[in-house]
Every structure is written in C-alpha cells, then in structure tokens.
C-alpha cells in the first residue's frame, strides 16, 4: 500500500525541502521504494539539495501536460537505491498544477510500486501548497522554534484537516510534528520556544527534533541530503525521524544543551 506524505509548514525557510530530501533518502536507504516530488514550481530547489540539478531534462509540469512520460522525468538517485526525484519546472508558475494532473502522476507512481511518495510543499497557503497537500495521507509539519512559524503551522494544519481529499471524504490526515533548527542552549536561555511549548500550541504528536547544525547548510550546498552525513547530529536526528516514522520507538536525542549534560555528568558521575 503506497502512502502519500506531504512535507509542509506554511512559513518559508523553515527546512521543508531539506527535510523532504533527508526523509525521502532515509526511507529509501531502509529499503522502501520512494519518490520525492518538488511542488515548488517556478522556485525549484529540491534538485539542488539532492545534487541532481544537472540531470533534469523533463519535469513535473511536463508530465502533467503530457509532454513527457513519468519515466522520462523521474531521476534515479545514484547514491541511494530505491530513491527517485521528480523535479519541479523552473520556467512555469503554480498555475501549471491542477488536481487532475497531480492525481494522475500520484496514481501512476502508486501503480509503479512506490511505497512512499513524499510531496515537498512550497511555502504559503496558495495553489502550490494546496496541491501538495490535497492528496496526502499523512503530513509532516516542519516548524522552527519561533512564534510566527508555529502560527503558520497551525494554519496549515487547519487547511489540511478541512480541505485535503481525505478530509473532504470525512477522514483525518495523520499529523506529525518535526521541529527543525532547534538549539537547546537558546531554549534554556529563554530566547527560543521549547519543544514542549510548540507541542502545547499545536497539540499534534512529535516525530522528531533536528538540532541547529552547520552540517545542514554544508550538506545543502554540496547537494548531499544531510541524512547521509552519519557523523553529524542533524543527520543522526533525521535517521531517528525516519525510524520513528516506520514505527520504531526511539528516544529524542540532541535536545539538551551540552552544558547541562556536563553538569549532570558531574553530578551523577
């Protein structure tokens, strides 16, 4: 049974594309056939983060318009088995997307035996974001520990539960909270919302917390999903997210400051 997962946030720049790339690569590395679709038509980024920008011939909009087959447009990742990328068009805008076209692409991916279809949503609550979430069975809501990001996530959760296909048919889209750019030191200092604060406002289950880390920027710039960097905290945190998503019970890591850990170590030896 294939699952459609939207990675969304409302607000821009919180780490949707980074998370989509890492999450999809993680699922594929665990042996699941995974496709990741870039819905940000006109502001194509996923191909860069995945390091496949020089291999884009046809794109999502070409497939929707029947100008190419899905097979021609899907880019097979060279590093991870089972991982495929469907890039967005850079020369078009969000109006090039329509429900029928998106549905036919998703159905074709399902028929091709993909286990997971990850939809990387653009920012905002307009057509692109709406198209990305419309066919979702589950949603990963990416939130930064600051008030405007939390407010926007709240808004997108409302849209998810009232305007997606599952919601229209009377069901519920399964929600997951992913907090990114988390800095335990700054939380303790009081200038960042804690994961408990965010959870209290959004009241959805927490899938994971990704620490603020220089390795994320480095990975993005080099075109390697950060999850492949097994040394970095962010990479390990993303791998935990994937395992948790697949049903494993794994405790949160990297959510306490080094200082505090040191203190407790001193205390309890």
């Amino acid at each position: 049974m294939s699952k459609v997962i939207v990675v969304t946030s409302g607000k821009g720049g919180v780490g949707k594309t980074t998370s989509s790339a890492a999450f999809a690569a993680g699922l594929a590395s665990k042996g699941h056939k995974t496709a990741v679709i870039d819905f940000d038509v006109g502001l194509r980024n996923l191909d860069l983060i995945m390091g496949v920008e020089r291999r884009v011939v046809y794109d999502f909009v070409n497939v929707i318009n029947g100008e190419s087959t899905l097979k021609q447009a899907l880019i097979k990742d060279k590093r991870v088995e089972n991982l495929y990328i469907l890039p967005a068009s850079q020369t078009r805008d969000k109006d090039a997307l329509n429900k029928e076209g998106v549905e036919s692409v998703i159905n074709e991916l399902k028929a091709d035996g993909f286990d997971y279809i990850v939809c990387d949503s653009p920012a905002g609550i307009e057509k692109g974001a709406f198209m990305a979430l419309y066919f979702a069975d589950e949603a990963i809501v990416v939130t930064n520990p600051e008030v405007s990001s939390v407010r926007d996530s709240d808004r997108i959760l409302g849209i998810l539960q009232s305007r997606s296909k599952v919601a229209e048919e009377g069901g519920t889209v399964k929600e997951h909270l992913l907090i990114t750019r988390y800095s335990p030191e700054r939380v303790e200092g009081g200038d960042m919302l804690s994961k408990e604060d965010i959870q209290e406002i959004l009241s959805i289950p927490l899938l994971g917390v990704i620490p603020e880390s220089g390795s994320v920027l480095q990975a993005s710039n080099s075109g390697n999903p950060v999850i492949m960097d097994k040394e970095s905290q962010a990479g390990q945190a993303y791998m935990d997210v994937v395992s948790r998503f697949l049903g494993e019970d794994i405790p949160l890591r990297f959510v306490e400051s080094e200082e505090k850990k040191g203190f407790f170590k001193k205390l309890f030896g």
Binding site: R155, L157, T172, I201, L202
Partner: protein
C-alpha cells in the same frame, strides 16, 4: 391557553419569476429527493427575488400547486405591498417583512455547524456586525467540536450551544447563537449569543482568548483586563458590560 409570538424553522420558497407551473415542477423534483422530509411540511413563499410583475402572479394557482405537492402553504413575505390584496383574496397570510432574514439567505452564510477554512478578512467583518436580529431563536441542538480549531478556521453553532473539547488556536474563531463551553485552551476569538442572545455565556478552562464577545458586545482581552488569564473563567453580560468571573 397561551398565545405567544415565537419563531419556528420553516421552509422558504424564493420565487424568482411568475411561471407557476415551472416553479411547481422544479419543487416537485426537490421534494422527490427527500419526500419524507417534505411531507405535509409548512412552507412560506418569499418574493424578494421576484423579477416579474407581482400583480400578474397567480397566487391561487401557486397555493393549489403547493397543496397538490403535499406542502401546507402558511404565508407569504417580501412581496410588493401592491400585491397584498391579490394575495389576501387567494387566501395567503401576509407575514411581516423580514429584511434581515432575506439578506442572510441571499448571502449564503459560509458555514453552518461545521468547520470551514476561510480568509481572515472575512472573519474581521463578522465581529463588528454580529447580527442582532431574531432575538428569540429556538435552541434546537448542541454542537460538539473534538478537533483542534486552528488559526484561520471558523466554527459556528447555529441556533445552538457549542462544546469544544480540544484547544482553539490564536487566530481562530468560534461562534454560537447560544453559550460556548471550552475544555481545551481558549486562544482565539470567541463569540457567544451571535444573534443577540444576551443570556448566552462563555465558560472555559484556560482563558487566553484574543477577543471575547456576547450578543455583539465585544472586548479585547489584554493582560490588564483580567487576573484570570490562563485560568478557568466564565464570561457573562451584565447590562452592556462583559463580566469575567472565576469558575
């Protein structure tokens, strides 16, 4: 024996043109969709959308047509006064014009007892123009909300009380014609007695609302206004003033 002026729910047939047989055949189709529901049900005709000349309208034929379809015609409203005699002759009761009612039905309220996502601009308008008509609305049901009410969402319990078991978010809006009970955190806007019921109250477990309103009297909830922020509270209307009390 008691005689009271009260309102009940009635089906209203909006007449747009003077072709009675056309009206009846369309109505027959509607009736056949839910024959049990319409069986012997009272019906009011409304002329506010009539484009033809009301004096040429065959009111007797319409009355007979409605009876034949199994409806019970009870009255007419919003027809031009010139047609009053004509209507009386054919046995129609003339109900007092209710501009408010007809304007509401024309503008198609966006939500009726359901969660709807709508732009924030719309919700702003709703605040200051909280309708104050129909003071004696019949409380019929009770609406329960068990999912979080998110930023940008509006929930409206028409003609009823509302119970919210989940939290409501900043930027959300919950409205009821009756009282509102909130067991999760109350963070958005909350409007009880939306159609002017002054005895409506708001009860909540954790008062963090942005705005509170009862029967059109509203108040922004700044920290200075109450010591009950984040605590269980009840809000009621005392004259023209909203009173916040500990629960």
């Amino acid at each position: 024996m008691q005689l009271k002026g009260e309102m009940s729910m009635l089906n209203v047939l909006h007449i747009q043109d003077t072709d009675v047989s056309e009206i009846c055949s369309k109505l027959e189709q509607k009736r056949d969709e839910a024959p049990q529901f319409f069986m012997q049900s009272p019906i009011v005709i409304d002329g506010s959308e009539l484009s033809g000349n009301a004096l040429e309208f065959d009111f007797s034929a319409l009355k007979q047509g409605l009876l034949d379809l199994g409806f019970i015609p009870v009255g007419s409203r919003n027809f031009p006064p010139a047609a009053n005699n004509l209507m009386r002759e054919s046995g129609w009761a003339i109900m007092r014009d209710q501009q408010s009612t007809s304007s509401v039905s024309k503008s198609e309220p966006v939500q009726k007892n359901q969660v709807k996502d709508s732009p924030v601009e719309e919700s702003k308008e709703n605040i200051n123009t909280a309708p104050q008509t129909n003071p004696v609305a019949v409380m019929k049901t009770q609406m329960t909300v068990d999912r979080p009410v998110r930023s940008g969402q509006q929930v409206y319990a028409e003609n009823s009380d509302m119970t919210v078991l989940s939290p409501t978010s900043a930027g959300s809006e919950i409205m009821a014609d009756g009282s509102i009970h909130i067991y999760g955190a109350l963070r958005g806007r909350v409007l009880a007695g939306a159609r002017g019921n002054e005895s409506a109250r708001i009860y909540c477990q954790s008062l963090q609302a942005e705005l509170i309103a009862i029967a059109g009297r509203y108040q922004l909830l700044d920290e200075s206004d109450t010591t009950l922020k984040g605590k269980p509270a009840m809000i009621r209307l005392d004259g023209e003033k909203l009173v916040i009390e500990a629960l």
